[in-house]
């Protein structure tokens, strides 16, 4: 039998302490895998509770321009899935309490081979996968393998889920990734939905922890949204900052430091 998934432990502890969860996202291998390691360490040091790594894809049809460019940089630096497993294995040894998640397109899992992928993911210490193009209806081919290796398939719910939301809430494991706006990943100035209504509805279906993501770009926005849920996920805003650092020709250590500062702005945690 597998032990408790670290995702559950993290949410349980933070909920008990009355704290909100902060999950930063970066594309693994952007600008290369060494940099990703240093950035992740800084993010943890500055209060990241879980870390989400994007697995770069050639044709990210659900991502906006910022993450598309990051995926391109990561692939150009030669990032392969094995490099990402190695990265997570090293990080989970050094930070045994932090849950690491991968966000990836289903093809990356499918072509690698389901059994082979989940076996390697478990060995690396990966706690969950977010696979945006594997909706509930198509889960059955991967769910048994994921279960056998104690890895959660994290569910996403969106404002357009409608009557699907109930089933999604009831089958969700770990936490529910609540997309707060339409469209692809990327920062937004404003939201078109009522958070009260959205989260009230989801809470009525299930008490599973809920994290909001898509388009959260600054600490103020984060604080406004997390009142309605258990935590937030910030991706494109961080990836954009990495891009700026690369453009400014910073060293990997300096990029990591900059991202640490940015993350501490979100967490209110220690900086430097």
């Amino acid at each position: 039998m597998h032990q408790d998934n670290k995702i559950d432990i993290t949410f349980r502890n933070l909920r008990a302490a009355g704290k909100k969860v902060f999950i930063p996202f970066i594309t693994a291998g952007d600008p290369d895998i060494e940099a990703t390691y240093l950035i992740a360490k800084e993010m943890i040091r500055n209060g990241a509770d879980l870390i989400e790594f994007g697995v770069p894809y050639s044709d990210p049809s659900m991502d906006g321009p910022v993450i598309m460019r990051a995926d391109k940089r990561a692939l150009e630096s030669g990032t392969r899935i094995q490099n990402i497993f190695d990265l997570v294995e090293k990080l989970s040894t050094e930070h045994p309490e932090t849950p690491f998640l991968l966000l990836l397109y289903y093809n990356s899992v499918f072509v690698y081979g389901l059994e082979k992928f989940f076996e390697a993911a478990e060995k690396a210490g990966i706690c969950g996968l977010i696979i945006p193009d594997l909706p509930l209806e198509e889960r059955s081919e991967a769910q048994p393998t994921a279960d056998a290796h104690g890895i959660y398939l994290i569910s996403m719910v969106t404002p357009t889920s409608g009557e699907r939301a109930e089933q999604i809430c009831k089958t969700a494991r770990g936490f529910l990734y609540c997309v707060t706006s339409l469209g692809v990943t990327g920062a937004r100035k404003s939201y078109e939905i009522s958070f009260t209504e959205y989260f009230d509805k989801l809470n009525a279906f299930s008490s599973i922890p809920k994290c909001a993501g898509f388009g959260i770009s600054d600490p103020e926005q984060k604080r406004r949204i997390e009142k309605f849920c258990d935590g937030t996920i910030v991706g494109s805003a961080i990836v954009r900052r990495i891009e700026e650092c690369i453009a400014a020709d910073m060293s990997h250590a300096d990029i990591a430091k900059q991202i640490g500062i940015q993350v501490s702005g979100f967490t209110g945690g220690k900086a430097l």
């Binding site: 659900m62 093809n107 594997l134 509930l136 059955s140 357009t160 009557e163 469209g183």
Partner: protein, 394 residues
């Protein structure tokens, strides 16, 4: 919302879509099921095909070609449809669905531009807003079609990501649909994408095969020996083949884009060199590496320059019901010239792949055989590019 096996062709197909679009796909499927049961929808669609698209399209007995190749050749003339290709069959069906669903705007991806032109045409006719996504490379290759779309009132959006061709245009159309899903209908141009698209597009294209069957039985009181069509995503081939799948005596032969030759690595021959994967909402065959990264593809034909194939084709290939062959750029250009000179018909470079397949395989047929080649579109759009390819222009 339990196990959903619809949209499966053996192991292929499915609905591998982001959650943002799942509701819209279900809504589309519901609207389509309702329309299928409503005789008024069928009648309206048939009337548009007849009075607006100009169907039925001719089944033309190509006598000179028949003598030259030593078999009986018929050409299914989809090039004579309004807008010049088979694409209008599907677009009119989907536009009628969009109207029924109360959508205000059509979006589409396009490669060669024929599907974009057909969508812009339907949008003009029905008074809908229209945005078409097209790769930058294809906008250069098919600049005439870009202007045609604009003339029809559509906005053409240049896509510069990736290889700036059809796959990137498709990704961008999917992104746009998820940005504005409530009033937008995504008109997919081939038998690809998440369920129910492969089924819907096939159903709206089967008119090609249905007409072939009726005319063959009228003229010859028998079914054809073989049907030949080109396949990129595979909509004209699917439309041609589908009504004959249950007739084992009819060979189903598809020509895919061999580019500079499968061994060169510069091609779009998905069946010849692809492996099973999940992309653009469907499980099917794709040209990809060992970690599922989509590999760049190449074809002289913008309409076949796609790294995947419709899931039902992948299944027809697995079961052996249909046969898939690679045709190179050179072979297609030869066939483009051959049909122009032999019959006075200038075919699209896509359709030229199907013509090339017949000239290549002629030894397999006798004068007693009847073979039907679907000419999916006309070649006006390609004349300039082929002229350059041959060094005759500039």
């Amino acid at each position: 919302m339990n196990e959903n096996n619809c949209g499966r062709y053996g192991p292929y197909g499915g609905r591998y879509s982001g959650e943002t679009l799942m509701h819209a796909l279900q809504e589309l499927e519901d609207a389509y099921r309702k329309a299928q049961k409503d005789p008024a929808f069928g009648e309206e669609y048939a009337r548009f095909l007849r009075e607006y698209a100009g169907r039925p399209s001719l089944l033309y007995h190509a006598e000179r070609m028949s003598r030259d190749l030593g078999t009986t050749v018929y050409l299914k003339r989809e090039d004579l449809n309004h807008t010049g290709a088979h694409k209008i069959n599907n677009v009119l069906g989907q536009a009628l669905l969009a109207m029924r669903m109360g959508k205000k705007r059509l979006i589409a991806e396009t490669g060669a531009g024929q599907h974009g032109v057909a969508t812009a045409t339907a949008a003009a006719y029905f008074g809908l807003e229209c945005d078409v996504f097209m790769g930058k490379e294809d906008m250069i290759r098919q600049s005439l079609n870009v202007y045609r779309m604009e003339l029809l009132g559509a906005t053409v959006h240049e896509v510069t990501d990736g290889t700036a061709t059809l796959k990137d245009a498709t990704s961008e159309a999917l992104r746009e649909w998820s940005r504005r899903v409530d009033d937008t209908f995504y008109v997919i141009g081939s038998v690809v994408g998440p369920h129910p698209y492969p089924e819907i597009v096939r159903d709206f294209q089967r008119v090609i095969g249905d007409e072939i069957r009726v005319e063959m039985l009228e003229k010859h009181d028998r079914l054809p020996s073989a049907l030949l069509a080109c396949v990129g995503g595979g909509s004209n081939a699917m439309g041609t083949f589908y009504p004959f799948i249950g007739d084992p005596s009819v060979r189903l032969m598809a020509a895919e884009a061999g580019g500079e030759g499968v061994e060169s690595g510069r091609h779009a021959a998905t069946v010849a060199a692809g492996t099973t994967g999940v992309f653009h909402g469907m499980k099917s065959l794709f040209l990809q590496d060992d970690e599922g990264q989509i590999t760049p593809v190449y074809s002289i034909s913008a309409g076949m320059d796609y790294p995947g194939i419709g899931p039902e084709h992948a299944y027809l290939h697995d079961t052996g019901r249909a046969e898939y062959f690679s045709i190179t750029d050179d072979e297609a250009v030869d066939a483009f010239e051959y049909l122009s000179r032999m019959e006075g018909i200038i075919p699209a470079i896509e359709s030229s792949h199907a013509v090339a397949l017949l000239t290549k395989m002629k030894s397999e047929f006798t004068p007693d055989d009847i073979v039907v080649v679907t000419i999916s579109g006309r070649g006006d759009k390609d004349v300039e590019a082929i002229g350059r390819y041959r060094g005759k222009i500039r």
